[in-house]
């Protein structure tokens, strides 16, 4: 019987973080499943779902040497082992950019949430005064797309940014 754990690691970037963390997990025969790992400015962030028979405390102990110098923080917690119900609908890429100010992500995503649009991936970058948000979103079947676009435009205008919602072309081969 194995449990699904979410292992989150974040801290000052250096070569070897992924190698160290995954080696510690491999030592417990934990199986890495979906993960995302990325560099946010100088902070390297990783979230990994692992299946393991080891308890949370054992995983934390295995990762302790990785965090010993205090530059990395680790969180290990059990999560429900169920796939999320996929939202049936149309994939789109959402592009937002403009002058940075508080509330851009909140304003834009609130207008998506109001229509049941699901965010399946999102990243942001701040470069000087320029704020860039790029997201992959699913417009549920039957949604009023014109209303989604109108609300997005309103939210963008309120935040002083520009928004584009572009369908993703998937070529089935």
């Amino acid at each position: 019987m194995t449990d699904l754990l979410a292992v989150t690691v974040i801290g000052s970037d250096r070569p070897g973080i992924v190698a160290d963390v995954t080696a510690a997990l491999a030592g417990l025969e934990a199986n890495l499943e979906d993960s995302t790992m990325t560099l946010l400015r100088g902070q390297f962030a990783m979230v990994v779902l692992v299946h393991t028979s080891a308890p949370v405390a054992a995983v934390e102990q295995a990762l302790a040497p990785v965090t010993a110098d205090g530059t990395l923080g680790v969180d290990v917690r059990p999560v429900a082992d169920v796939d999320s119900q996929p939202v049936l609908g149309a994939d789109h890429i959402l592009h937002v950019n403009g002058a940075d100010r508080p509330g851009i992500v909140a304003g834009i995503t609130a207008s998506l949430a109001a229509h049941g649009v699901n965010v399946v991936g999102l990243s942001t970058r701040l470069a000087g005064e320029l704020y860039v948000l790029t997201a992959e979103v699913v417009l549920p079947d039957g949604v009023d797309e014109l209303a989604v676009r109108a609300d997005l435009d309103r939210a963008a205008q309120a935040c002083g940014v520009h928004v584009r919602l572009v369908p993703v072309e998937t070529d089935e081969l």
């Binding site: 990325t38 400015r41 890429i93 950019n97 991936g121 990243s123 970058r125 860039v132 790029t134």
Partner: protein
């Protein structure tokens, strides 16, 4: 095949039947950076024979020439919401077909095919790059400054990408508006 057609390319087997008119000396202009509103403003059509358009064309080429790694520059990038841009991909390692240094006014894409993904940077977004899918075969129609002659440019590879990037600028779009997904915007690691 590398097709080395200079700005004074003659009619021949390569199908290039136009010559970039001579421009007056240009002035190096300051390049505008995002989030400046002008970069999100679609350009107005211009009269290519208007002395102001001709001066802008010369300024774009002059500014591009002194900017390291710059292969194209649009009017929006020097603060004018107009449908004018310059291109010069001469000598770039990814260039195949090359029409040298030229300026187009009121340009539009006639046909685009063979999409490929590449990583783009832009002088107006100096700290970020992005992965963008664009056509590698392209036919563009536009007017030359000075004469106003309508020309069709058939190109490929890097020049095709550059033309699409610049035409986007004249329509108020940045490469950030075309990146392929949430993980496709990158903090620049190296600067030219």
């Amino acid at each position: 095949m590398t097709q080395a057609v200079g700005p004074a390319g003659d009619a021949g087997d390569d199908g290039v039947s136009w010559t970039m008119p001579e421009l007056p000396p240009g002035t190096v202009r300051e390049v505008v950076r995002a989030p400046a509103e002008i970069l999100a403003t679609a350009g107005a059509a211009v009269d290519p024979t208007d002395p102001a358009t001709i001066a802008l064309a010369a300024d774009l080429l002059a500014t591009q020439a002194v900017s390291p790694g710059c292969v194209g520059l649009a009017a929006q990038q020097v603060g004018e919401a107009l449908r004018v841009f310059s291109v010069d991909v001469t000598g770039h390692p990814k260039t195949r077909t090359c029409h040298g240094a030229f300026v187009l006014c009121n340009a539009e894409v006639l046909s685009a095919s063979r999409k490929g993904k590449g990583r783009e940077g832009c002088m107006s977004v100096p700290d970020l790059t992005g992965d963008v899918a664009r056509a590698r075969r392209l036919t563009v129609r536009g007017q030359l400054p000075v004469t106003g002659e309508w020309v069709e440019i058939e190109t490929d590879a890097f020049e095709a990408v550059c033309l699409q990037h610049e035409i986007d600028h004249t329509e108020g779009l940045l490469f950030l508006d075309r990146v392929v997904g949430p993980q496709a915007v990158h903090r620049r690691q190296t600067y030219l």
